[in-house]
Symmetry: C2
Subunit: 372 residues, 2 copies
């Protein structure tokens, strides 16, 4: 009953911890010996494009999934010949290229920021002219946590951005004046059943998620219901179009004119970590239920939750655990500037959630560090 | 930061799954290769009295605990020379011998059934005469899940019981006409701080726990508070007397004249499995917090829970997971008659908890089997 996972980071680790109670076992493929998931399950140490290692993984499992979206599509396709791979490799293909992703979303008729594909300096100038400043340029591939991005506010920025990013194919988007960032986590089963967790409000810092609040606060319950329905409709369209199986995260901008898709991640997602304690069924368990063709679990949240990422280090455990309603998650990593080494979820605290989260965030801030 | 555990069964498995998020790692000593805990952590395969294996375990960890109470006390003492062992081996010593245990409890002034130690047929006759029928005889050592017990209701039963049990030293107790069985789970930190989960009502079948309901139902909140306070006082006395560190379970009879201690288990306990979903901090996490000298977590239960053991087999997973509020826990064991292979917790279901539990229990009953 072994599940193969491409990637052995914290997402894989939490998948395993959620699915062991279902009687599953795991084998992870990851190039780093002693990866976070390898500490709690079997690991094949190897590169994602090493066919011998991929074959070893395939031989040992009956279903394959992945826990980050930079897995080579070729690896997923290779494995597909031996065992089902969920989410479908097509989702990887779409999500790995920001330009393809944006086109895919736009073609579904879902609102995105206006964008251009850019390969030359001339195309960049053209895009800036057409979109109007400010714009943001991103490398089409392998950008995450704010890496490979440049915001251009002035004509001088344009030249500087080209210096920094040139060489890689780019996508240039009009800067969206959003009020806040949201994300919608959805899960789709093989039979097309879909479930959605409540919308999450996310705050990033230097391009890295710092804090998620769930359910995202709204002025009125009617507002919450309306925007939730919009977000679910967007996620549902994407899930169905990809014949998706598993958990999908869609990052959204909340703007005065409605929701705008920023990007998607075809996997369990950092903005869904609160679901471990905060919802009836976690994103991790539901992802596994989906890929095993088991009934999906209840995604409702009985109370409010706040998740604080621990970045670059973590506070003394005793200090954190002395606080009420605090749930600590360390990933078995060594501390390095800018590295996500754990998270804390404050759940079920009622009126105190925000205050406790502020306290934990302050502790996280003094114990961790970003890369410079 | 490795925790050594004597025993690699489901209790060890759930300890590991609860404490990985705290950043801990585990090594289990268990004679069976591929034991439930060994599937999710490192395992030293060896007997509990194999000094070389014990030394290997000691070398690899900075604190040792155990997950069943039949661990040889000598093994715990041996390990104590290398690393702290919690709960203290003295607790093992007391709990391994039903007669010592009863004497220990009685000497604290806590109500127990009247009892006699019995080694000869003559002593048995004397005990029966002094206590009056019905009585129950139990082997002093290694009796669990109803093994090594005999109830005597008639003088003929006495001869038959002697046939069955003779050879082993016995404890003979007056049969307590209890209304129901309860248990109190408590945890004590190194600094003497104590926390208690709400009382649990337990129903056994053929000597094996079938169902736990938490918090145990009472006619009135005042009754609940009164009996909870009594149970906590009993547990607190035992915890303090043993200078205990970790989780302790005390099984109680609820009788018309008050609570009577049946037995205790110096470890996490089957009647506390509901705490994984049903309380803010599970018994497993708090046991680990205690032995690591970390602050203890909140033991309150936001709602009602029912735990159903899966004995001798388990229902189809898809059928179970299609039910709302159901949390499945399989232990990675093969099915054998009478073997606990998993459990299901129904939590947060409000008014439906009992109905859902009945449904799950019926499913468990048709899929499992007891030894004959």
């Amino acid at each position: 009953m072994t599940i193969g996972v491409l990637g052995g980071g914290q997402l894989g680790r939490m998948l395993a911890l959620a699915a062991y109670p279902l009687g599953e076992t795991f084998v992870f493929l990851d190039p780093s010996r002693g990866a976070p998931a390898g500490q709690v399950g079997d690991q094949v140490v190897g590169a994602y494009d090493d066919l011998a290692k991929l074959a070893e993984l395939a031989k040992r499992c009956r279903v394959v999934t992945y826990e980050f979206e930079s897995v080579p599509v070729a690896a997923a396709r290779f494995l597909e010949a031996h065992a089902p791979v969920y989410p479908p490799p097509r989702a990887l293909e779409v999500a790995q290229d920001r330009l393809n992703e944006k086109r895919f979303v736009a073609e579904l008729g879902i609102a995105t920021s206006p964008f251009f594909g850019v390969s030359t300096h001339e195309e960049l100038e053209h895009a800036v002219e057409a979109l109007g400043l400010p714009v943001v340029a991103k490398t089409r591939n392998f950008g995450y946590d704010g890496k490979g991005q440049a915001v251009m506010r002035t004509p001088e920025d344009v030249a500087a951005a080209w210096e920094t990013l040139s060489g890689a194919p780019l996508i240039v988007e009009r800067f969206v004046p959003f009020e806040r960032e949201l994300s919608i986590l959805g899960v789709r089963g093989k039979d097309g059943t879909k479930r959605f967790w409540p919308l999450v409000e996310n705050r990033h810092e230097r391009g890295i998620l710092r804090r998620s609040t769930a359910p995202a606060p709204f002025s009125t319950p009617a507002d919450a219901a309306r925007v939730q329905a919009q977000a679910e409709a967007i996620s549902a369209q994407i899930l169905d179009a990809l014949e998706y199986v598993g958990v999908l995260a869609v990052e959204l901008f909340d703007t005065p004119s409605g929701l705008v898709v920023n990007e998607m991640a075809p996997r369990v997602h950092n903005s869904g970590h609160w679901t471990i304690e905060g919802s009836v069924t976690s994103q991790f368990e539901n992802h596994v239920r989906a890929i095993l063709d088991l009934p999906l679990g209840d995604t409702s949240a009985p109370g409010p939750s706040v998740m604080i990422n621990l970045i670059g280090g973590w506070p003394e455990r005793a200090a954190l655990l002395a606080l009420p309603h605090v749930h600590l998650h360390l990933y078995g990593k060594t501390a390095q500037p800018g590295r996500k080494v754990g998270h804390v979820t404050i759940a079920g605290a009622g009126a105190d959630t925000t205050r406790l989260a502020d306290q934990v965030e302050a502790m996280a801030r003094t114990s961790g560090s970003f890369r410079e």
